[in-house]
């Protein structure tokens, strides 16, 4: 399995080193707590950037620089915020083609036993969104939706 980024490796390694599920759960909360409101201002929390089908609200943006996709995201709930932070950091800095190489196994390495199926499904949906951004070269979540992708 390829390594998308050093951030990804860091997260994966950290989670692997924690052998207590409760601690892994708390680790994710800690990541979520580090994401501050200012990191993702209200002006970005628009319907345009809102992912549907999540238990809590999730916003995602894709900033493309030098053909590389840089994701940022936010949620109103801390645990989801933690997962969003892990996902966006892990899979940012890749080209559209590189994003297509990312598979569910990559996500599975991050989403250890501490997560409910519903959250796992949410993470997979996030990955799908990243890959779609990769395919279309950017845009907004709403843009993907209205393009029917």
């Amino acid at each position: 399995m390829s390594t998308p980024s050093t951030q990804y490796e860091d997260f994966a390694d950290a989670l692997e080193m924690i052998d207590d599920e409760d601690m892994r759960f708390e680790y994710i909360i800690d990541i979520g707590k580090k994401v501050k409101d200012v990191d993702f201002p209200d002006s970005l929390r628009t319907d345009e950037n809102l992912m549907h089908g999540c238990m809590s609200q999730v916003w995602i943006i894709d900033e493309v620089r030098d053909n590389k996709h840089h994701f940022r995201g936010f949620s109103d709930a801390i645990i989801v915020k933690g997962l969003v932070a892990m996902m966006t950091a892990s899979f940012s800095g890749l080209t559209g083609d590189e994003l297509q190489e990312i598979g569910t196994d990559h996500v599975r390495r991050l989403n250890l036993g501490a997560l409910t199926t519903q959250r796992q499904v949410g993470m997979m949906a996030m990955l799908e969104t990243f890959k779609k951004f990769g395919l279309t070269g950017g845009g907004t979540v709403a843009g993907l939706r209205s393009a029917g992708i």
Binding site: A77, I78, I79
Partner: protein
Amino acid sequence: MNKVVSIESAIGGNSMAAFDVEQARADFPILSQMVYGKSLVFLDSGASAQKPQVVIDAVRECYETYYSNVHRGAHFLSQRCTDEYEKVRAEIAEFINAPSENNVVITSSVTESINLVAQTWGRKFLKAGDEIIVSEMEHHANIVPWQMLETEIGVKVRATPIDDNGEFLLDSFKELLGPKTKLVAITEVSNVLGTIVPVREVIRLAHEQGALVLLDGAQGIVHQGVDVQDLDCDFYGFTGHKLYGPSGVGVLYGKADVLNSMPPYQGGGDMIEKVSFHGTTFKQPPHRFEAGTPPIAQVIGLGAAIRYVKQLGMENIAAHEQGLLAYATEKMNAVDGVRLVGQAREKAAIISFLIDGAHPFDVAAVLDRQGVATRVGHHCAEPLMDRLGVVGTVRASFGLYNNAADVDRLVAAILKAKELLL
């Protein structure tokens, strides 16, 4: 030691003698499950209750020793199974004090019970401009079927308000009531706030206006039982799985003349008198409303559930739950930053709450990791969430098998949530 005394008086006291919660807990096999390595604290009975061994065994025994389709057979098993099945109908009638088992229609859930009334009574007797009153704290099951009649027929659904404590406002209800009101469809107990609605008054007032009353008893029957004749409601619906019975079975009670006046709901076997391509006639209630093979083993399981709660005593269960409610309310109020949503004077053992500064989903997730199962979200009552101005709540709902230790675990988990999330 102040706290300990209040535990005793809340949970113990008089009811202790009549009701031994530890003994009751032993009847529920699932309660010994471990969740994330912690023993399970199940505080989600409002969504669906767990099943005592007698219910599980009744279903199993049916399948293993006498299962057969009912009503249509003359052979031994079919006869035996029909007898057991119809016996439960009589037991349900007795349990809710219906005049006869013919007032008891078997459905698949209270949702179906309510839809049945909307689609048969509603479509036959309502016309554009007629009004149906529901409350602001209804479950979607008691809103959407009426909204569908709004679209279809042009009736108007009006919501009678509650106050910020979740108290039903009788005066406002009186104002809404009028000659256009044809039906009042009200929950007995709010599944979110625990509010016990003054349904006796509601029914009296509605009847004065000539309106019928449907009670959504999904939560009510579980916490306090019901006497449909004493209440004088026209319809009463409940669902088996919240009453410690199997999933897949519900009940609709109706007054005889009302049921008799209603056309059938679904068409199929068992509900007909005579079928031909020249004209088909239907059976009398309750069979008129029971098309096809009914939930046979589920009805039998529901019978076992009713016998189980009757043996424990509905008053004992109610007293025990009130004790838990008082104890939990006191302990949770003592935690800084915890806000109880729903503070009606009369409540069933359902507590919705929020932790200031934390998202309810996060709170429920942390609780879950501590082995404490609660529910989070809108609880199928979005209009109520809008009314209260919240995205959702965390809800701890108690069953007969919960004990003071469950409350303590809940409170400990709340403290942990505060520690982790704030």
